[in-house]
Every structure is written in C-alpha cells, then in structure tokens.
C-alpha cells in the first residue's frame, strides 16, 4: 500500500537553527557571509512530495545537514565541505537530459517532463562511499528503468553511459581535481534496469541540494557512492563497457563494477568496515551494501575479485 506523504516538517527544519548555523559558520572561510548563504539556500529549497517506495531500510536517516555538507563532488572542490560552499553556482533550471545511442526513441528530455514519467517515491537507502564512510538517505525518485523503457533500447544496448554537467566557467579544472571532466559513469544494462537503481530528484522531502547532485542523479545503493553519478546531462546506450571517471584516473583502485564488497580491499585501505556518519564506532560493511538478496544474482558466476 502506498501512503501519501503528508505535510510533515522538512528534515532540514528538524535540526535546530542554531546548530545548523553554527556548523555552517564553521565550514565557511568567510564566516558570516557563508552562514547567510547556506541558510537562505536551505530555506529556499522546494518541497518535493513523494509516496513511500519499496526497498527502504528501517535504519535511522543521517541528519540532513551532514548529507548536505559532507560531499564528494570534485567539480566544486575536492574538500568535503567545498561542494556545499561552491555548488550554489550550479543553475539547475532549465535542465535537459540527452538520451541517445542504441535506442529506438532518442530524445532530449526536459527535466520537468522526466519527473512526470512516474510517481515520485521516497526510498531510504544505505549509501556507502569507497572511502569507508556511509550514510542513510531518504532519496526521492523512481526506478531508472522507467526512463530506459521509455526510449526503447535496441538489442545493441548492453551498457548505459552517464555524463555529468561540466562547465569550466565555475567548476574546478581537471588539472586541480586530478580526475577528468566531464565526470562519466556507466552501468551494465541489467544493473540499470534493476528496480533498486533509482533516478533521483530529491532527498529529505525536498529537491536535491546542488551539492548532492541537483537536479537529477542516479542512486545505485549496492555500489560505492562514486557510481551514483550526479547532475546528469547525458545518457547514452552503448554496446561496449563505457569509460568511467575513477577507473580512468586509477584503474588499479577503482573498477567498472565497484560493488560494495567487504572482502576486496581498496589497495590503500580496508573495505571490511565503515564509519556511519554520526556514529563513534565502526560497523561491518555488508556485501553489496546489504542489498545482496536483490542484486547478487546479477553477478552469478563472476569473479568479484577480478571484477572489482
């Protein structure tokens, strides 16, 4: 049964204003200006209504402020707090997504049209970064396969390639970020079609903050966070495994699949445990980030040590 979200208070309002301001002030190099900027943005964020979707974890969501201030979004800086400071420059409307490649109906979608393709659902997912920290986020969106089906992929479509917005006018140059831009990611067709894979427009009852990948991103909860590409402008259906940014940067450390796997360490650190933001101790990392029941069959017969 689907339960309509009522007029709950926004998650951002749960955090006391003082604490929110304090943390923001600390994060900013220009103390007062930064605080003002961030509160404005938070209060201006548009609400996004959604029905309760499937696959939600019962775990407690990470506080909104943490998810909105601790980000990896290298286009806006490589420090964790940089994106929340700098992503205000991102213009999220109007926004279009080019869907092309091996499809019967290639199309340039207007974001508003995409958002009307299916009812928006709230799904509370675990999110595990390759850097061994994790969060629990109530995302808002619908299955990625809705969009995929709409463009009717042909038999040649074996993989889906995604591309983020890149604008050198206000984003970090690849030279400083140390990775190539525009950011690109990819999924195998069956991964992209999996009902867990989410096309995401919001979180915590409101539209995505820019630093979290506004206005549209994907969320692939059984893979390391960097697979969940942000601010998508292009989706292309292809026959061969597409290049992916972190793999291009360091193939030895970041594979195409990058499924959460506690038994395969990152060369520089263990993936056996993770720190859930807000918790003091560490918790054990779960295979496929705890989504093994849903996705393990996708990888039956594959050597996950080789296909890391």
């Amino acid at each position: 049964m689907l339960i309509k979200r009522g007029d709950d208070i926004r998650y951002s309002e749960v955090t006391p204003q003082k604490a929110y301001l304090n943390r923001r002030r600390f994060l900013s190099t220009v103390p007062l200006a930064g605080a003002a900027l961030l509160t404005n943005r938070a209060s201006a964020a548009a609400k996004l209504a959604a029905v309760k979707g499937p696959f939600s974890t019962g775990e407690k969501p990470t506080p909104f402020v943490d998810v909105a201030s601790y980000n990896n979004f290298y286009e806006f800086g490589t420090g964790k707090e940089d994106p929340s400071r700098n992503a205000g420059k991102l213009k999220t409307s109007p926004w279009s997504i080019h869907v092309e490649g091996a499809v019967a109906k290639p199309k340039v979608f207007d974001l508003d049209a995409v958002m009307k393709m299916a009812p928006l659902e709230e799904r509370i997912y675990r999110h595990r970064c390759v850097e061994a920290w994790s969060i629990v986020v109530p995302w808002i969106g619908f299955p990625l396969n809705v969009l995929i089906k709409a463009v009717e992929p042909t038999a040649k479509a074996k993989f889906v390639a995604f591309q983020s917005l890149y604008d050198s006018k206000y984003m970090l140059s690849a030279r400083f970020a140390g990775i190539e831009f525009p950011y690109v990611e990819g999924l195998r067709m069956d991964e992209a079609m999996h009902p867990l894979a989410l096309l995401c427009f919001g979180m915590y009852g409101q539209v995505l903050p820019n630093q979290d990948g506004a206005p549209v991103r994907i969320v692939v909860p059984w893979k390391y966070g960097f697979k969940s590409i942000k601010s998508i402008v292009k989706i292309k259906f292809v026959e061969k495994e597409p290049p992916t940014t972190w793999n291009l940067s360091n193939a030895h450390e970041y594979g195409f699949y990058s499924n959460v796997n506690p038994t395969v360490d990152h060369p520089r650190w263990s993936q056996a445990t993770e720190r859930r933001l807000g918790e003091f101790g560490k918790r054990k990392t779960l295979m496929f980030n705890g989504y093994g029941d849903q996705v393990a069959t996708l990888y039956a017969g594959m050597d996950l040590r080789k296909n890391y």
């Binding site: 994060l27 201030s69 290298y74 490589t78 520089r268 263990s270």
Partner: protein
C-alpha cells in the same frame, strides 16, 4: 651592549607555547560545540596530521630563518617547535590507534605492513620519537654534541616520510601534499647549497664555528653555544 630584542627574552617562550598549542585547543573547543563537521574523526585525523607536517616544516625552517633574518636567538625555540611536531604527531597516531582501529593490534600490524601510506606515516612518527626522547640538555651532554646531531638528522627522514604519507593518501587532488613537499624541498635545498658553499670556502679560522664538521651549524644543540655560528 645593545638592548635585548623581544625574541631574546625568556618570557617569549610562554606566548609561543600557547600559540603552538592553540590548534589543539581549537579542536577541543570545536569538539564541545559540535563544529567538527559531519565526520569529526576524519576532521581530527586530518587536522592533527596537517599540524604535524606544519610543525616539522617550521622546525626545519628555524636554522635558515636564523641566518636569513639575522636572528640567531630563534634557536631557543627550536626544541619547543620540534616537540610540538611530535605532540601533534602523537595525537594523529592516537587518533588512528583509537578512533580508527580501536586498538585492534592485529589489524594495525596488518595495516602498517600492507599499506604503503600507513607504513610511511608510521615511519615518520617512529623516527620522531627518539628525537623527542633525547631533546633535553641532559641527553645532549650524555650523547655528546656530534652524536646527538647525527641522531637528530632523523628529522629529515621524518619530514620526507610525512610528505610521502600524505601524498600517497590523497585520491587525486595532490595540491596540498605537493605544497608541503615543495616547502620541505626548499628547506632541504637551502641546507645543501650552504653545505656546498662551505666546502668551497674552507675556513682556517675554526673559531668561527662551533664545530668544524661540515653541516654542523644546522644542528646547534643548545641555545647558549649557538650564537657565534650565526649572522652570516
């Protein structure tokens, strides 16, 4: 006799001590006010690591600055600065032992052995420990100036290993570790150049130096004996 400059005064060590301690005090304050960001443990790890490298660089800068600024008395602060490098290094190491590994020594040994960036960091820390231990005037006397100086050149190893540790840690944006590396490289180069120049102009007047051994003016052990070697 000219009036004492402020840096030559005894009490100057007190404000310097407070200044050196302030990054740690700030961390504590931020901790109590919930201002360490979304991942406080990572924040503390990075802050203490950063300050270790900064204090290593500052300690290494003392000798060049004495000559450059004509302030031989700066040597009086070097031990304190070096000990603060060790202090922040210890905090950094403790954060790792406790908050990251929760004293799981099996895991720690594996980490140090298997992961080069941890190995480098561990080496940087371990090579600072004997310097902190032998930092007293008593130890200089017991060891003898020359041997003490030799031992204290371990700071070069520590600084190198520290920079490498940082460089190997970052995922892609290497600007900060490269900056630290550049600073340390400049401080090393200054010593190299001076040493080469001193070789060329062999001094007959040994009295000008505390010790005739090449490279020794860098490591003047105790404040009192160091003054004559300066001002060049």
């Amino acid at each position: 006799m000219q009036a004492k400059r402020p840096i030559s005064r005894r009490w100057m060590k007190i404000p310097l001590f407070v200044l050196c301690l302030s990054p740690a005090l700030l961390l504590v304050w931020e901790g109590f006010h919930d201002e360490l960001g979304a991942n406080p443990i990572e924040f503390i790890t990075h802050a203490t690591g950063d300050w270790t490298l900064r204090f290593l660089a500052i300690t290494l800068a003392v000798s060049p600055l004495r000559r450059l600024l004509g302030l031989p008395d700066l040597i009086r602060f070097r031990r304190m600065l070096g000990l603060f490098a060790f202090f922040y290094g210890s905090l950094h190491f403790m954060t790792y032992l406790w908050l990251d590994k929760f004293f799981d020594f099996h895991e720690i040994v594996k980490d140090v052995w298997k992961r080069p960036f941890i190995t480098a960091g561990f080496l940087a820390f371990v090579s600072m420990a004997p310097l902190a231990l032998t930092s007293t005037a008593g130890w200089i006397r017991r060891m003898g100036g020359r041997r003490w100086q030799m031992l204290h050149r371990l700071i070069y190893l520590s600084a190198c290993a520290g920079v490498v540790h940082y460089y190997w840690l970052v995922k892609s944006d290497i600007r900060k570790p490269v900056l630290y590396g550049a600073i340390v490289a400049v401080l090393f180069a200054e010593r190299g150049v001076r040493r080469a120049m001193r070789r060329r102009t062999v001094r007959t007047d040994a009295g000008t130096w505390i010790s005739p051994a090449p490279g020794s003016a860098d490591a003047a052990p105790i404040p009192k004996t160091s003054a004559p070697s300066s001002a060049r």
